[in-house]
Structure formats: structure tokens, C-alpha cells
């Protein structure tokens, strides 16, 4: 997640990035590019989504929320997995950078979860007639938000940063072990208590331009998350360095 996908040939240099000072410099050089890329991609995605993509025959214009809703939901889940991966690496190999990356990613993940929930609600009101329905996807997303909040709560409550990192890693990993079970149980629960209001088949049938808009927005979210996570990691590195010097 933190590495550019472009220079496979220079794999050996990646290892150097695990050292916080090197990473600090590297992140400082990379994040403006990523931020710019995010802006460009978002502009392109919105242009495709609002001007090129046709009006849906069943839902009308309101389906255009999808261009924010789906990428945000993807990011919320993906960021949790990546943060847990980094936290696990930090716990097992005691690398110094990994817990920082996990901590830098989690708030962004939580923000995307909130956005996914919120846009889902704004989409649900006109299509289903209710702000909230107890549907499997919405419920899982809500539980994901709780998992994020649990992690952020534990990490911010513990003063000692080493203990905070490790305790947070345990919380994240417990969540990751549990996510498939939670997802399955919620799925099961919602099929048993099938409400009559939801019809997923009312979702728009994708045209190429819709798909392109969604993918562009998803890439924009990626670039945004990377940029924000890099900047936050820089902050964390600085703050840690000050802590150590006290």
C-alpha cells in the first residue's frame, strides 16, 4: 500500500523504506503527486459520472450517488485489511514503521466508512423510502465503523505508544479474524428476516460509462487515501521522534 507499484526492478530499495527517516523523506516527496493525482482522477470521475453517464431508466438521476458510495465502501473495507496487515507485521516482526502505517490508515478508513454509510442513507431515502434499512450490507458497514472506533479508541486511550501500537494491533487482528464471521452471520440474519422494502435488482444496470466513472472515482479514493496516510505517517514519525527525545 505504501509502495509505488512502478519500480518492480528496484525491489531491494523497498526494504530501505522500512526505516522511518528514509520513509519520512520519501513520503514527503511522493504525497503531493498523489494528492494531485487524486484531484485529477476525482475531476475526471465526476465529469464522466455526471455528464457522460446516462440517466438510469428505473432510478433516475439519484443513482449518481453510486460514484461516491461504492468507492467509499470499497476503501473502508480495504483500508481495514491493510491496516490489520501492517499491525500484524508490526506485532510479529517488531518493525518500527508498520504500526505507524496502521495508525495512519485507520482514521481515513473510518472517514470512508462514515461516507459510505451516509451516502447509502441519502441514496436509500429516495429509492427505498427510508434513511436506514437493516440490510446485510448496511449492517456490516455499520459494524465495520464500530470496529474502527474500537481501534481508534484503544489507540488513543493508551499513553505509552509502544503498548498502544501492540494493543491496537491485537484489536485490529481480532477484528480481521472476526470479519468473515460477522459478515456471514449478518448475511444469514438478513436473509432470515427478509424485509420487503429492498430490491437490489432495482440497482441500475451498468453501462460502460457508469463503470468507467466508478473506477475513476475508486482510483481517486485510492490516491487520496495514500496521500493522506503518507502525510499522517510523517506526522506520527515526527511525534514519535519528539517523544523519544524527551
Amino acid at each position: 500500500m505504501n509502495k509505488p507499484l512502478t519500480d518492480f526492478s528496484r525491489a531491494w530499495r523497498w526494504r530501505q523504506l522500512a526505516s522511518p527517516p528514509v520513509f519520512y523523506q520519501w513520503a514527503g516527496r511522493v504525497w503531493p503527486w498523489l494528492a494531485g493525482l487524486a484531484l485529477l482522477l476525482a475531476a475526471a470521475g465526476l465529469w464522466v459520472g455526471f455528464l457522460l453517464a446516462p440517466t438510469d431508466s428505473q432510478q433516475g438521476e439519484v443513482y449518481r450517488i453510486i460514484f461516491l458510495h461504492v468507492p467509499a465502501a470499497w476503501m473502508s473495507m480495504f483500508i481495514y485489511l491493510v491496516a490489520a496487515l501492517h499491525a500484524g507485521l508490526g506485532l510479529v516482526y517488531k518493525t518500527r514503521l508498520s504500526p505507524l502505517l496502521a495508525r495512519a490508515l485507520a482514521p481515513t478508513g473510518a472517514v470512508f466508512t462514515v461516507i459510505a454509510l451516509w451516502t447509502g442513507a441519502a441514496w436509500g431515502k429516495p429509492t427505498w423510502g427510508a434513511w436506514w434499512v437493516w440490510d446485510a450490507r448496511l449492517t456490516s458497514e455499520l459494524i465495520l465503523l464500530f470496529l474502527y472506533l474500537g481501534y481508534l479508541g484503544v489507540v488513543s486511550a493508551i499513553e505509552d505508544s509502544q503498548r498502544a501500537d501492540s494493543a491496537g494491533a491485537i484489536v485490529l487482528l481480532a477484528g480481521v479474524v472476526n470479519i468473515p464471521i460477522i459478515y456471514f452471520s449478518v448475511q444469514w440474519w438478513s436473509t432470515l428476516h427478509q424485509g420487503a422494502t429492498i430490491r437490489w435488482d432495482a440497482a441500475p444496470s451498468m453501462t460502460h460509462s457508469m463503470l468507467a466513472g466508478m473506477l475513476l472515482m475508486a482510483l481517486a479514493c485510492w490516491a487520496y487515501s495514500l496521500a493522506v496516510a503518507l502525510v499522517r505517517t510523517r506526522c506520527l514519525i515526527l511525534e514519535r521522534a519528539q517523544e523519544e527525545r524527551l
Binding site: 527517516p21 519520512y24 433516475g60 438521476e61 439519484v62 449518481r64 450517488i65 461516491l68 458510495h69 467509499a72 482514521p107 481515513t108 472517514v111 462514515v114 461516507i115 451516509w118 451516502t119 441519502a122 441514496w123 431515502k125 429516495p126 487520496y224 493522506v228 502525510v231 499522517r232 510523517r234 506526522c235 514519525i237 515526527l238 511525534e239 521522534a241 519528539q242 527525545r245
Partner: protein
């Protein structure tokens, strides 16, 4: 149909607001971290 625009604006507006709030918060945090780092010398 016309209130669909309202919901779209609601979704995108508050979504953008959340992202901007996150960026502002992060900006202030990095400024204060940098300022403190410069008080004590380079990292």
C-alpha cells in the same frame, strides 16, 4: 424527480465535507508537529 438533486447534493456535499475536514485536521496536525520539530532541531 427534482428532489433527487437534493439527495445527490446531500451525499456529495457531506462526503466532500468529511474529506475536507479530515485534510484540514491533518494539515493542522502536521503544522504543529513540524513547528515543534523545528524548535528542537531537525528530525
Amino acid at each position: 424527480m427534482q428532489n433527487h438533486a437534493f439527495f445527490i447534493a446531500l451525499a456529495y456535499g457531506l462526503g466532500a465535507l468529511a474529506l475536507v475536514a479530515e485534510m484540514l485536521w491533518l494539515w493542522r496536525r502536521s503544522q504543529s508537529a513540524l513547528a515543534r520539530a523545528q524548535e528542537e532541531g531537525r528530525p
